[in-house]
């Protein structure tokens, strides 16, 4: 093996991963962080100054994705130019989350994007000034995205939040126990003065010839159509558990299952942040710190943060309850609506199958380049199926990389 062994290897350079790496490095461990993105920070800190505060004492390898685990204590990593193996004593999976997309007629049109998706693209230079944008779906991310888009010159027509007002008000009241979160919510709302925030409202279809021209929304008994340049639409977040699954870690109801020290069911593998369950930035940071300390053997420092983690977990539970997806969203897809965008598989074809396995074999649903990362969340919500097996390569990889993976041992 050409690569030196790291005491602690972290996958994911978002808040949880950076916090974990920092704390492990401070504890004297030899640490490296891997991330698929060209810059550190993950999604929430994309193009933000915060990562700088955490980047110290360890190596960061960017533009690198894990494609296989040829043996215990070793990962195969691919970059645009090369592939190599990295050895570790302890591994911390901080693989974050992605948006849940739900299929509705027209959702595959160009310029229909994720809510976080459009924000990420705008942060990467996509021009949004002067564009008319409808923000839709569910969760606090919608407000953050709308605030960002408006702050960068977009005309946000409205925000359509599928959850009902009553659930939001209950959630709002629970924020009293989390003053920091409450302040954030108030600041966000202030940035969005004049932008309608419609609760109990969701998109039913998107229209356009070769690209998006308008979106039809429903609220109560009313349907209407809004012309727009972009539809930014995401129905909450789902944890990225594929790497953990490939490594054999047990997955719980909310994400990668972990113990008090953020240990997974597999020895020497830890997990922190959104991968273990959706909980937001503060929870990700404290979980990352605990995982970093624990992976470096400093369990006393790890346990000193348990109480703080518990407080943030309560917030996560309230969040999940408030933004639970409504049943009506299960009937948005028409029989001919595509659910799998890689292989163009319609809802009708998936519905004719008895489970994931049959759908994969008969329709190729989830077998394209995204490997079910987009349709998986939709299929889970629509059909109640959970993908059961994850095999390498974790991402489409070059044949050479795969051929070499594990060859040195």
């Amino acid at each position: 093996m050409t690569d030196p062994r790291f005491d602690v290897l972290v996958v994911g350079a978002g808040p949880a991963g950076l916090a974990a790496a920092r704390r492990a490095a401070e504890s004297g461990a030899r640490v490296a962080v891997l991330d698929d993105n060209p810059t550190p920070g993950g999604q929430i800190w994309r193009a933000r100054p915060e990562p700088a505060r955490w980047l110290s004492g360890y190596q960061v390898i960017l533009g690198a994705r894990v494609i296989a685990a040829p043996a215990a204590g070793c990962l195969t990593v691919e970059t645009l130019q090369a592939d190599f193996e990295i050895g570790y004593r302890a591994l911390i999976l901080a693989t974050g989350a992605r948006e849940r997309f739900l299929p509705f007629p027209g959702w595959t049109l160009p310029n229909v994007m994720g809510a976080g998706g459009l924000q990420a693209l705008a942060k990467s230079g996509l021009p949004i000034a002067g564009k008319r944008i409808v923000v839709a779906g569910s969760g606090p991310l919608l407000l953050a995205v709308a605030g960002y888009l408006r702050g960068h010159g977009a005309r946000v027509a409205l925000i359509a939040e599928q959850t009902e007002r009553a659930a939001l008000l209950r959630f709002g009241a629970s924020l009293a126990a989390h003053p920091g979160k409450l302040r954030q919510a108030v600041e966000l709302r202030a940035r969005l003065l004049g932008v309608p925030y419609l609760t109990g409202c969701w998109p039913v279809s998107a229209q356009g010839a070769e690209r998006l021209e308008s979106v039809t929304l429903r609220r109560g008994a009313k349907n209407w159509t809004e012309p727009c340049d972009y539809l930014a639409c995401g129905f909450g977040l789902i944890p990225n558990t594929e790497l953990a699954e490939m490594l054999g870690c047990r997955i719980g109801a909310s994400g990668v299952a972990v113990d008090d020290d953020q240990r997974t069911s597999v020895p020497a593998i830890f997990s922190a942040g959104e991968a273990t369950g959706i909980g937001g930035l503060d929870l990700a940071l404290v979980e990352g710190e605990i995982a970093g300390y624990a992976a470096a053997g400093r369990t006393r420092e790890a346990s000193s943060r348990f109480a703080l983690r518990q407080q943030h977990r309560r917030f996560a539970t309230a969040l999940e309850k408030a933004f639970a997806l409504r049943d009506e969203l299960r009937s948005l897809a028409a029989p001919e609506t595509l659910v799998c965008r890689c292989e163009d598989v319609s809802y009708a074809r998936i519905r004719a199958c008895s489970g994931w396995r049959e759908a994969k074999l008969h329709t190729r649903c989830g077998m394209g380049p995204c490997q079910g990362r987009v349709c998986g969340g939709a299929v889970e919500f629509l059909m109640g199926w959970r993908s059961e097996s994850v095999r390498p390569p974790l991402y489409p990889a070059r044949v050479e990389s795969l051929a070499r993976s594990g060859q040195d041992r």
């Binding site: 997309f101 693209l121 021009p127 070769e210």
Partner: protein
């Protein structure tokens, strides 16, 4: 930073991704699906593979994950 998108010169701000250069060139169709539907970026974070374009003759590159570089040649709809 100057790039060519489908032969058209585009000036992209430093630090921007290829996905942005395509939009700056006025294009919205990044690729066609297996049944010929027009597609553009969805997730913005490298997981959906909908923003794939040809960069410097190399096909199927995720434009949202690759920073723009001077003189880069990008083609969509291939």
């Amino acid at each position: 930073m100057k790039l060519l998108v489908n032969g058209k010169p585009v000036e992209a701000p430093a630090g921007s991704m290829v996905s942005a250069a395509v939009a700056l060139a006025g294009a919205w169709l990044y690729r066609r699906s297996v049944t010929g539907e027009p597609r553009g970026p969805l997730c913005g974070m490298g997981i959906c593979f909908e923003c794939r374009v040809t960069i410097g003759g190399k096909p199927h590159q995720r434009s949202c994950q690759i920073p723009c570089a001077e003189g880069m040649e990008v083609r969509t709809d291939e």
